[in-house]
Symmetry: C3
Subunit: 438 residues, 3 copies
């Protein structure tokens, strides 16, 4: 593959600006501020308006917590690779920045009011959620895809997400307040399907840059800890106000706390010398947040939430240790960040826990069959949608890096000079000019 | 210039403690808690008190978001330099810590009640805002000034800011809810005027430390992302509660999202190989927040906010690429962080957008001429105030570093030993003693 | 001491999982969601329920601020050591994750309702507080203890804390809203007592890893700045809603701002060349938050809070410079993070300020003698409890590292390969295998 194939000079700006301009035109036609007015005017207008304002101000701190999870949490969690931190946090910002605009449209089209999408904080939270699916999938293909490929994935994945989300919430009437199924399982299996299609035999024996250094692991911990702390906001942000929202906060908080203990314990247990592995700590400590998602607002009792977290932390750690290598060697699924362990299995666990909890009557009006349908639907859309998306991303001319340049920022970024002295000379010339002169 | 000129042992502590003690005395005389009581007692007292409390608790999360922007956002954004990260985050903390106390006084003097400044959360937000002007100017002279010089700049810049702010808000009655003009343009041009006065011909050909390393760019991204996420709080914190505040949140959120796309696209477009430049990503992605500031609470519609962000991101990136080198070489303005591109031009763009929006009737009671007067006033106070401040900072004996020690923490900080082995030996002796023994 | 003594492969998982499973059983028996219902049913039930919900949503942002202080603040503050950052942020997460579950139980047992602990946000804030004591003590013994030892310390310290807390708050009726005494002084002297018992003569002359590198100091500043910003939430979170809570915010905000100036000034004053020392900046800037804790919600007036901060910053910096070396050499107290300077002395200062403020009538219903009893009780429980805990931690077989492996992540963590080339070969074999292959 010739070197210029990764030169994004015209392709990337054209794709990015075209997408943004189309989006702005769609906003001009469809999106307005929510003024709190019901579509059919009448009495009660002022009350509705005040209620909207009040809800907006109450939800705003939770929105910001979710925002931090999306941009700092996901962005920094992926900076663990030694030479791919610029891309991790930078492309994360690009995809999320575009994805939230796109997600607001795609989800909004299902909930129009007088032909308009009325923007409020709840819709902004949902827009952030829709980008989370993309960022999860990004983790599976991290280091092996170009920004152009990833923008295409963003458009497709969010569009398909919004269809599945509508199906699950409106048609099935299933509960998934913390989105174990529709975000985590969906995002993970979508990404794994893409990764399967983009399988690289040349990376079968690993890559020298597919690992961390001490400081990159520390940057990743910034992501981990912010995700961990604010996960109660993620799982409760769209819950019904009052007791259900509070229950979602408490269940998530406790599930995550219990999950820490099992992740640390199992990490130590499976390593030869009983040492802790940063990959497990960075990821498996969060599995409790994923797994408690579906039943976060159900009355599963505090100890129930803790049990879910305990199991999720153990499963996730074991997955990193034993399953990820098998997926790569036997199934051709090269999952850079191990999203299968953090989002895939814990997401399915969450879906199953939701089925059980609903069957046990922990949620008024819940229906276990519909919960199962929601899980199946999320997995189905993920696998089929991911496979199709993968084939589209595989089309030539989208700037996919050659194997030897995977996991390397310098293929898409100006990288400061000093660091490169430590590397083997790469085949792409003048990128090492000193930024200080720019 | 003899080496001891930068020894701050007595000058800095004396200046810092004197300023603080004067401030405490002024607080003892003038500042009290806001008890919610109106100055003239009477009925309605309890209601006013409850309202104050309620407003305080509602605004507190937004205050904390702004606080994070000031201390983490600005502080870490400037840590991109390879050997100046201690100063960036540390002196940022010093200036902001003092500046907020001083700003509270300076702004409070215009709004006294029975001869007292009554402290509430809104005043604390405004105090944080006043420090933002200083931190923007700090970016222009980063690496080339001493802490003593910068404390002097803090006192003068905030004092002048509070005069201009009063003029703009109370006399002109202009709108600048997100402070494109009175904070961003003012802070930028103030700093550029100072930088012009402190012009260093010896740095014409660059400086080996005036650049980043891989990890310092990552620390800077922490600042970028927190600024980006919480900017909706910055632009809406002092907006009228209810719809205007919510509009400011939405407009800023969308402007920033669109800005990301144009910043990335233009960064790729202007680089030889189509690569992304971290300087652009760290800064130009934020220009949308600056530029939408003035009209954040106006009904410019979601797509209007996005257009402002789109243009701001492009202008800012182009400024970094083409304008900053010209400013340095032709006008003698050495702008370390490129504040002209992040705060200067986008600030003016914001002011102009505000004039247009008000002229189009997007703000009830707005007056386009007064908007223009506010922009002119902000620029005028900035340039004249900055120039005068620059000349005062240029007075001998304030510890300004010699050219060769610019952009180097070790002139004002104990720096750990190990790192210095990688550097050329510097001329100032025992600073490398091992901190571990202290 | 043979190398295998630090192998945690079975001990650590067994201890961690056993503690967690016991905790889950206790939760199953005792902990329920707070439904807002009073224990004896009757009218007013719905009102109480709404009030509970309203309080929960209002306190949630403050809870999250405190959460950030516990997990990011304390965790990153301790990452300053060059080779101990994984442990600092990672073991911090482990201890806090378990500690909050344990603290919720221990404090909850004093406040049962119909035999149940009813979980609400206030209890979650208090649970976070209880872990703060452990994290402070962790700072004193950082680098010299095993995870198993530290989990034991967590159980004992929080249990004893909850006894002292009950005594101080319920029996003495003393005021300590920001917990200068019951958290900061208690945590510090508990940790110092443990450190005294675990005294290591072999570290008398220092240790090559007991110091920072440039980037580790930057990671520590993330902790410092988040602690500094959110401290007003820490000191006000459990204050009475309304004026007392707002007063606590303002006093803490101003105390910290003044403290910055004195910490910087004194740091410069005591160094040979007038340079700033990162250890002082990272820690002493926070002493104002500690010292104003007890009287945060009292009417000490803004300037009173600033005076407390000014003094605290100076005392803390002087402590780092002059007292810490003496404690180590004369009293055998090796205080890795200098918690005596950040939490110990400022905590006592806070307790004393509280006595004076109450004696001056700054708090309705306060009693100076009871304040003094609270301080004495906190110190007494700390010293006795810490000594006993230290002896228990000293029992053989708990994985305490030998002197030469202190301050070294690689004894308990898989550490990426590249970094180790820079180190002397350590005696524990295969830990350097490339994580990328895992």
């Amino acid at each position: 593959m010739p070197a210029y194939a990764t030169n994004m000079r015209f392709k990337f700006p054209i794709v990015a600006l075209t997408l943004e301009i189309i989006t702005i035109i769609l906003y001009a036609v469809f999106v307005v501020y929510d003024d709190g007015k019901p579509s059919h005017h009448g009495e009660g207008h002022q009350a509705a308006s005040n209620e909207t304002e009040d809800k907006n101000i109450k939800l705003y701190p939770m929105f910001q917590d979710v925002h931090v999870m999306i941009f700092i949490g996901f962005g920094f969690l992926m900076t663990f690779l030694k030479r791919y931190s610029f891309s991790s946090v930078g492309i994360n910002m690009l995809l999320a920045g575009f994805g939230l605009q796109w997600g607001l449209l795609m989800q909004g089209f299902w909930h129009m009011d007088d032909g308009k999408i009325k923007l409020d904080i709840l819709k902004m939270i949902n827009a952030d959620f829709s980008t989370a699916t993309v960022l999860i999938s990004f983790g599976a293909v991290l280091g092996k895809t170009s920004p152009v490929q990833l923008l295409i994935m963003t458009v497709l994945e969010i569009t398909i997400f919004s269809i599945n989300e509508h199906l699950v919430a409106e048609i099935f009437g299933a509960n998934d307040v913390g989105a174990s199924m529709i975000i985590h399982a969906y995002g993970a299996y979508f990404g794994l399907a893409v990764a399967r299609v983009l399988y690289r035999p040349g990376l079968r024996d690993g890559h020298e840059n597919d690992g961390s250094v001490y400081h990159s692991d520390m940057f990743a911990m910034i992501g981990t800890v912010f995700l961990w702390m604010f996960w109660p906001s993620f799982n409760s942000a769209i819950a019904d106000a009052g007791a259900p929202q509070f229950t979602a906060v408490v269940n998530t908080y406790l599930s995550l706390a219990a999950c820490v203990l099992s992740a640390y314990a199992v990490s130590s247990l499976v390593e030869h010398k009983g040492k802790l592995d940063m990959v497990h700590i960075q990821n498996a400590t969060l599995a409790g947040g994923v797994a408690v998602g579906t039943c976060a607002d159900m009355s599963i009792e505090p100890f129930g939430a803790m049990l879910i977290g305990l199991v999720a932390g153990a499963i996730s750690t074991l997955g990193f240790k034993y399953l990820t290598p098998i997926l790569a060697s036997s199934l051709g699924i090269q999952d850079t960040c191990g999203v299968h362990n953090l989002h895939g299995m814990p997401g399915i666990l969450g879906g199953l826990a939701g089925i059980v909890a609903v069957a046990m009557g922990k949620k008024e009006g819940g229906n276990a069959a519909m919960q199962a349908a929601a899980l199946a639907s999320s997995l189905g859309f993920a696998l089929v949608g991911g496979a199709i998306t993968g084939f589209i991303m595989k089309l030539p001319g989208l700037g996919q890096p050659p194997d030897q340049n995977c996991f390397d920022d310098s293929i898409y970024w100006e990288v400061p000079e000093e660091e490169e002295e430590n590397e083997e000379s790469l085949a792409h010339g003048d990128h090492s000019k000193n930024k200080a002169e720019t």
